[in-house]
């Protein structure tokens, strides 16, 4: 049996809930109408054309161009993730152990490109890497090469520019994790006789693994969906999944095929996030931005 006081508090709680829902509703509606509805529509489109059909997926499975594009996208994303880890780890490590002022300077330099337009950076890399670009000019003046190197409009250019954009997404979660590692642990290790290398590998590195996982996930997933950089620096030969989607829509008017490719990409991204969320909370991965 409930007392009148309890009734009142339940009533109050309901009113509170309704108010909070009303406050969140406008934002929620925007997302539902502009993300959930369009993506759902695409998913529907990929299996429905005058009746239910799996034709679009069968084509992805059987046609060579789709296979090659998926394989290339995964290879490039994996390569970019590994390189980002290789270059990002020392930066995050240095920022976390340096005196505070230096740490802030290092982080500021990492975040600076973060807030520069992706398009502007693609342009910068074109200016640097093209046949008559800065790097080729420099190498020629130094007498190191006779013929300009093909640095752009290929996979190399795509990787260099993609890595440039995604590196901060690796460094920031790494730094966040490293900063939380208690320094006493390393001192304890050292006082027990372990050298700097041993304390790093046995104590620091394992404790930084959540950051490695968060950063790698973010970089890999973002690389999977890259569009501007491969489009502008890939020279039409490095066809990544996103380009497959846009080409099917813009050039061939193949909505079904574009939708199916999009759905496969989305499922891959969703599966990766889901798998990772079992180890670290997802909002921590995303909240780093």
């Amino acid at each position: 049996m409930s007392s009148p006081v309890q009734d009142l508090s339940v009533l109050h709680q309901r009113r509170e809930q309704r108010l909070m829902l009303a406050l969140a509703l406008p934002a929620l509606l925007v997302i539902l109408l502009l993300v959930v509805l369009p993506v759902g529509w695409l998913a529907w489109q990929s299996v429905y054309h005058n009746g239910f059909t799996l034709e679009n997926y069968r084509r992805i499975w059987s046609e060579d161009i789709y296979w090659r594009s998926f394989a290339l996208t995964f290879q490039i994303s994996l390569l970019v993730t590994l390189l980002a880890l290789l270059l990002g780890y020392p930066i995050a490590y240095a920022a976390s152990i340096a005196p505070k002022r230096w740490g802030i300077i290092i982080l500021a330099l990492v975040v600076l490109p973060f807030w520069t337009s992706v398009l502007v950076r693609a342009y910068a890399w074109l200016a640097l890497l093209q046949r008559t670009g800065v790097i080729n000019q420099l190498l020629r003046q130094l007498g190191l090469i006779d013929e300009p190197l093909a640095l752009v409009h290929n996979t190399f250019g795509t990787v260099v520019a993609t890595l440039h954009i995604l590196l901060p997404f690796m460094v920031l979660p790494l730094y966040a994790t490293m900063q939380q590692i208690p320094r006493d642990l390393m001192q304890a290790g050292a006082s027990l006789g372990a050298g700097p290398m041993l304390t790093f590998w046995r104590i620091f590195f394992p404790l930084s693994l959540p950051g490695v996982l968060a950063g790698s996930t973010l970089v890999f997933v973002l690389a999977l969906g890259f569009y501007i950089t491969p489009e502008l620096l890939g020279g039409g030969r490095t066809i990544m999944i996103s380009m497959l989607v846009s080409r099917n829509v813009e050039l061939y008017d193949q909505w079904g095929a574009a939708s199916a490719v999009g759905v496969v990409l989305l499922v891959a991204v969703g599966a990766i996030f889901f798998a990772v969320s079992r180890f670290i909370p997802l909002d921590r991965v995303l909240g780093q931005k």
Binding site: L23, V35, V120, M186, S259
Partner: protein, 261 residues
């Protein structure tokens, strides 16, 4: 931490090289934009403002700039209050459904942008929003919302909610206590969220490629199509201006005013 000397040298050199890789491409555009040469060159043979004049004198670039600025301002004006309201609701309510709403609001960051772009293109074509200002602003509000929500939710986390309770127990109604007690204290994170939404709208390219057209094409769309054809030095001038605006805004967003001011 103790470190051997060679290890320290390797670390410093590696960091310096990686930081150069991150910074140089951003800095190289500015000197090139002041070049007098017909083609991109570095270092510029002589200095001039010709590419800035080219930009300002071109009606198509100017129209695109107006569209970009209008879209960015409208995006902030709409996305900020929606995001603040949602972040407030999420942080106040322990209701389980709010967690789901929170995740949904972050979806624009998770769904690959090309999928969102093609999907919106499809929906807009059905409802007649393609190539309109309304459609462009709506899409950018959607893309900017997660930044506002993340920033404001973080701000609310360090805010003591009992203060608002006190204000209400002293007779203020809920709305007033929010505006008088809570909002002033989370103001820095609201401003930061709004600025990030502005930058996101200013830089957005992929969705605009699909849904914008006619006279409502933002700068980024025109830059992208120009870059596909040839490397026009006018873009160096535009890029330099865009970067300068971004950096100024980030500086404002990240410099928190002193407490108690």
């Amino acid at each position: 931490m103790t470190m051997s000397r060679p290890f320290r040298i390797v670390l410093v050199v590696t960091c310096a090289l990686v930081l150069l890789y991150l910074i140089v491409p951003i800095l190289i555009i500015a000197p090139m934009s002041f070049s007098a040469a017909r083609y991109l060159s570095f270092p510029p043979p002589s200095l001039s403002l010709r590419w800035y004049q080219e930009y300002v004198g071109n009606p198509a670039w100017m129209q695109a700039t107006r569209v970009t600025l209008t879209v960015a301002v409208l995006t902030v004006v709409i996305a900020t209050p929606l995001g603040v309201a949602a972040a407030y609701a999420i942080s106040q309510s322990k209701w389980r459904i709010m967690r789901l709403i929170h995740m949904t609001l972050l979806l624009p960051l998770v769904v690959p942008i090309i999928i969102t772009a093609v999907g919106i293109f499809f929906v807009y074509a059905k409802v007649g929003l393609a190539a309109t200002m309304t459609g462009l602003v709506l899409a950018n509000v959607m893309l900017g919302l997660p930044y506002v929500v993340i920033s404001v939710a973080a701000g609310l986390q360090s805010f003591d909610a009992t203060q608002e309770m006190v204000a209400r127990s002293l007779g203020m109604n809920r709305l007033r206590s929010f505006f008088v007690v809570t909002l002033p204290q989370i103001k820095p994170s609201v401003i930061a969220g709004g600025i990030f939404a502005f930058i996101s709208a200013m830089d957005e390219t992929i969705v605009a490629l699909f849904i914008s057209g006619g006279q409502y094409q933002p700068l980024t769309k025109r830059m992208f199509t120009a870059l596909r054809d040839e490397i026009d030095p006018t873009i160096a001038a535009i890029s330099t201006l865009m970067t300068a605006v971004s950096f100024m805004l980030v500086l404002i967003a990240t410099s928190r005013p002193k407490k108690g001011a």
